[in-house]
């Protein structure tokens, strides 16, 4: 299962953090700091998987943002790498060429998209089209 998802920029500012396990605030900050340190210095030629405490962090860098997923040791890393990419594609489609500022000013929408994509630490929907349509329906409810 996914334990948390973190989006950070190169300076370490967290743009999105969703935890599927209970953690204290201070622990959350610590985790974010450590994950940032782990991924920001890695050479791009290296693998996208890093050991983190007793779990694994699967990360990928898109422009200035690091998308990090923390999963259990036994999970399929390649699959989660694909899911990161799918999420980015969804964001890209939703915000039309998404950039970091979009994510900053519309953070509540990003969370909503995330909640349509992943729930309880597992994948909920794999069709980009379905998720975008759903977001559209939800917007109409507002």
């Amino acid at each position: 299962m996914i334990r948390f998802i973190i989006l950070q920029n190169r300076q370490g500012k967290t743009r999105l953090a969703k935890y599927y396990i209970p953690l204290e605030e201070s622990e959350k900050h610590k985790v974010e700091y450590e994950v940032h340190r782990l991924v920001v210095n890695r050479d791009p030629k290296f693998t996208n998987f890093v050991e983190f405490r007793n779990h694994k962090v699967i990360y990928r860098r898109y422009a200035g943002l690091f998308f990090s997923l923390c999963v259990d040791i036994t999970d399929n890393e390649l699959a989660y790498l694909e899911s990161i990419h799918l999420f980015v594609e969804i964001l890209d489609h939703f915000f039309s060429n998404v950039c970091e500022l979009d994510l900053v000013f519309n953070f509540h929408k990003v969370y909503l998209i995330l909640d349509e994509f992943i729930l309880a630490g597992e994948l909920q929907e794999t069709s980009k089209k379905a998720i975008i349509e759903r977001m559209g329906e939800l917007e109409k409810q507002e």
Partner: protein
């Protein structure tokens, strides 16, 4: 608009915060906003609640505390409108988690929302529940969720399914209720619901064996069909990723098969076809395909054995290994570690590729590959593998060297086929990465070296050469210094050369140079310097010509600020200058260190697979064996024996003065037992050194003579025995340490012809098992000295081995013993042992001889000790 009123739009607040140039500014802005939000909360203002919570969430994301907003979430959730509920749930998930008690208050609201008809609201509630519910909430709301698993809208169904996963994780007992609905989900057509249904079933099977059984019986064929349809399905644009339709669903189905097939042969059978199809048909040029293949391999390796499938799986992993993509290689290495447990042969085929991965620039890949290589090593491939690893050690990075060194040493120790190879490899490792080698490892190396006497010359020469080039590796220097100290004469004399060696010209001065460099080098630590000092002492005896120079070097350490070095320097200096006679005895060859005892003492010891080339390990009399590590680091190595030569000095040692434990083990082909352990602690009586230690070891390989030490029962008069006849310098006989005046060495004179009056022989001792007869003769012109020929006869039907005779005499007598003719006494008088003793009576004529004796031997694997006193000497001796 006042930017700081509670009416600030979210967007404006974000802009204002981003415009701050310093942290202090940002804190000020945030504080103002929080204040106005707090004010709005206390006014219970409904209009801007929505916006305020959004602002609060942003502030929370920046890292500021926002507890005061938690109740706002609850109020928003309780509102009837969708937008409020939405932001309320969002806030709830962000600001709260399951451990907070406030969460309980939401239970009722959630329950109501779950029962609504508006699927969007139901969806919101399920989402919140699935992400953060606690165990109590799970229990309370499980029935609702169960009902929702069959809701008409697929979005709700899939959320309900995932929510159920969390519920059964929190409350496993509830799993039974969900088995049927979960199984029903597997028949769904909608991918999203199917996906979540599959995930739910996987979870349920992990938690409940009942579910596992049920699903195995009822659903496997259905699932196989689903996967088959999926694999064969035509292009579906909605779910297509890199040419594969919904790879995530593929992967989840494979995971479910993993759980269902593990431990069940029938299930494994049913799924083997589709697994083979997936394994062979999936495209591998994109990550999505590889992800599916990876999952497929993982499943194949965990279900019950189907030979063909396993081979297929390992081959896929082999292909992954040669991929250029680091990610793929990493996962392949991971999975191979699992595969090696199941089918090590198949993995061996990919050994070369794995070895390549050890040299990869990526640290995680290197680590994985090294562990895998370690698992792959066996007797047949150890040599080429080690060669590769040692070659790589040269070029590897510093932080990897430690790991690599440890693994190489471990492999070499476990699997080395012969000693010379072991020594070679270790010298190479020490040269490259000596500083990373752990203490136990080089201690073990030294033990192996002592156990390989035919390799001593080779080893010391190899180490000498190595230390010329790699003097910076401290461990190498230590081992080299020890060996040069021990086998210095072999280094200079080129003795014991093997065919593969070339002659090298090393003078004594060169050898001393090495040690001098080591001791002077400022980076040498205490252990190294201490070992240098001992080695120098040994060399002063083995290289007599260098004694002055060695003494000078030692003298320099006299003023060392480290107590240990100072003490050693002073003591050794004293030995060199004033106690020449016993020096060679002190620094004789170390006895062979007992591997078994030593490796038993090491924590987590690797079994000493390197067997000794000699016969059995030495017997340890009285159980006093110094572990090698102590031997090396402790003070004076007092050896009493050469490796092979059983000739021993007396086992009397300088005990308290130099604070040394014994290393009494002597190794002889006939397993001489050393009585030397019988040291009377207060008697600082010293054993006579046998042959000069500078004589080559081969010379020491004299007859298997047993030497005994006289146990000085009485003060001052232990008469040690001289070694075999070739020793031309008999040692000093007894002396006290401090008064090392040394008696004049009594030359080992061959037994004189019997001149002078003859004396009748006596039976010195007789028991049920043994009889000792003394025959007397006197040297011409020397009435005070009597030569006794003792004869030992075995009266019992058992053979005695390790036969040792010891004698002691009162102060006015002086006793000197020659080696016995042997130490095996055949049974029932079929043979005998003879031994010559020489007694000098300073009170000749006034007092007659008297003697106490102690005999020890081994019969029937038991040690026997007999004692007696001889009072019936003829008068006038």
């Amino acid at each position: 608009m006042n930017p700081f009123s509670s009416g600030t739009r979210l967007r404006d607040m974000i802009r204002a915060i981003r415009a701050c140039k310093t942290a202090a500014e940002e804190r000020a802005v945030v504080r103002k906003e929080c204040a106005s939000i707090r004010a709005a909360i206390s006014e219970d203002d409904p209009d801007y609640r929505h916006r305020n919570l959004a602002k609060l969430m942003f502030i929370h994301m920046l890292g500021y505390p926002t507890h005061f907003g938690q109740m706002e979430c609850l109020k928003l959730i309780a509102s009837p409108g969708f937008p409020e509920k939405r932001i309320g749930y969002l806030g709830l998930m962000l600001l709260l988690d399951e451990r907070q008690e406030v969460l309980m208050l939401v239970t009722n609201s959630i329950k109501q929302d779950l029962n609504q008809t508006n699927q969007y609201i139901v969806g919101l509630a399920l989402c919140a529940l699935g992400n953060i519910c606690s165990a109590e909430m799970a229990r309370d709301l499980a029935p609702e969720v169960e009902r929702l698993l069959q809701f008409r809208d697929p979005n709700v169904r899939k959320k309900a399914a995932l929510c159920t996963i969390r519920i059964i994780k929190k409350v496993p007992d509830l799993a039974e209720n969900f088995i049927n609905p979960a199984a029903a989900l597997l028949k769904e057509k909608h991918h999203g619901v199917l996906l979540t249904g599959v995930q739910l079933c996987t979870e349920i099977c992990k938690v409940s064996t009942e579910a596992l059984e049920y699903l195995r019986k009822k659903c496997i064929t259905g699932l196989v069909k689903v996967l088959r349809d999926l694999t064969n399905s035509p292009y579906a644009p909605e779910y297509d990723i890199s040419g594969i339709t919904d790879p995530f669903l593929h992967i989840r189905l494979l995971k479910l098969f993993h759980v269902l097939g593990h431990g069940d042969a029938d299930a494994s059978d049913t799924m083997s076809d589709i697994l083979a199809q997936v394994a062979t048909k999936t495209e591998t040029n994109k990550n999505a395909g590889n992800a599916i293949l990876y999952e497929c391999v993982a499943t194949i390796l965990s279900i019950e054995d189907n030979g063909g499938l396993r081979v297929l799986a390992v081959n896929i992993l082999g292909r992954f290994l040669s991929s250029r993509d680091n990610n793929i290689r990493y996962v392949a290495l991971n999975m191979l570690m699992k595969a090696i447990a199941l089918d090590s042969q198949a993995v061996q085929r990919h050994r070369a590729t794995i070895l390549e991965c050890v040299k990869d620039p990526d640290a995680s890949i290197r680590k994985r590959a090294l562990e895998l290589v370690y698992l792959l090593v066996n007797e047949s491939n150890v040599k080429p593998l080690t060669k590769e690893l040692v070659d790589y050690l040269e070029v590897s990075e510093a932080e990897f060297k430690g790991d690599l060194t440890a693994k190489i040493c471990s492999i070499v120790e476990k699997f080395s086929p012969e000693k010379i190879w072991y020594i070679d490899q270790m010298v190479k490792v020490l040269t490259q990465a000596g500083n990373y080698v752990k203490d136990e490892v080089w201690h073990a190396l030294i033990i192996v070296i002592t156990n390989a006497p035919n390799l001593h010359g080779y080893t010391v020469r190899a180490l000498y050469k190595a230390v010329q080039t790699a003097g910076g590796q401290e461990t190498l220097v230590r081992v080299a210094v020890w060996c040069i100290g021990e086998y210095g004469e072999m280094l200079v004399g080129n003795s014991g050369m093997l065919d593969v060696e070339e002659r090298i010209n090393v003078t004594e001065a060169d050898a001393v140079d090495v040690i001098e460099t080591a001791i002077r080098c400022h980076s040498s630590d205490l252990t190294t310097r201490a070992m240098c000092l001992i080695a120098l002492l040994k060399l002063s005896s083995r290289y007599p010509s260098c004694t002055k120079r060695i003494n000078d070097i030692i003298l320099q350490q006299k003023g060392s600020l480290v107590l240990e070095l100072q003490q050693r320097a002073i003591e050794f200096n004293s030995i060199i200058e004033r106690h020449e006679k016993i020096r060679s005895a002190l620094v004789e060859r170390m006895p062979v260190l007992d591997e078994a005892t030593y490796s038993g003492r090491r924590a987590g010891s690797v079994p000493a697979a390197v067997s000794t080339s000699q016969g059995a390990l030495p017997k340890i009399p009285n159980g006093v064996v110094k572990p090698a590590s102590a031997a090396l680091v402790d003070l004076l190595d007092l050896s009493s024996d050469a490796d092979q030569a059983p000739s021993s000095s007396g086992g009397d040692y300088l005990q308290d003065l130099l604070g040394v434990d014994l290393a009494p083990a002597s190794q002889g082909t006939n397993q001489t037992d050393k009585r030397g352990a019988d040291v009377l602690l207060d008697l600082l009586s010293i054993g006579a050194p046998p042959a000069q230690s500078s004589s080559s070891m081969l010379d020491m390989l004299s007859s298997g003579q047993d030497n005994k030490s006289a146990v000085g029962m009485l003060d001052n008069l232990a008469s040690p025995s001289a070694p075999s006849a070739q020793a031309s310098s008999p040692g000093a006989s007894s002396s006290m340490m401090d008064l090392l005046d040394g008696f004049g060495p009594s030359p080992s004179v061959p037994v004189a012809e019997t001149n002078g009056p003859t004396y009748p022989s006596i039976v010195a001792f007789e028991s049920n098992s043994l009889k000792i007869t003394y025959k007397f003769s006197k040297e011409p012109g020397n009435p005070q000295t009597t030569i006794i020929e003792a004869q030992f006869v075995n009266k019992s039907p058992d053979i005695y081995s390790n036969f040792v005779f010891q004698a002691a005499v009162p102060k006015f007598l002086q006793l000197h013993m020659d080696p016995a003719s042997g130490n095996i006494l055949p049974e029932s008088g079929n043979g005998s042992i003879t031994q010559k003793l020489r007694v000098s009576n300073s009170q000749h004529g006034k007092k007659s001889l008297v003697m106490r004796m102690r005999i020890s031997y081994k019969a029937n694997d038991k040690d026997v000790l007999e004692e007696g006193q001889v009072n019936n000497f003829p008068r006038g001796l």
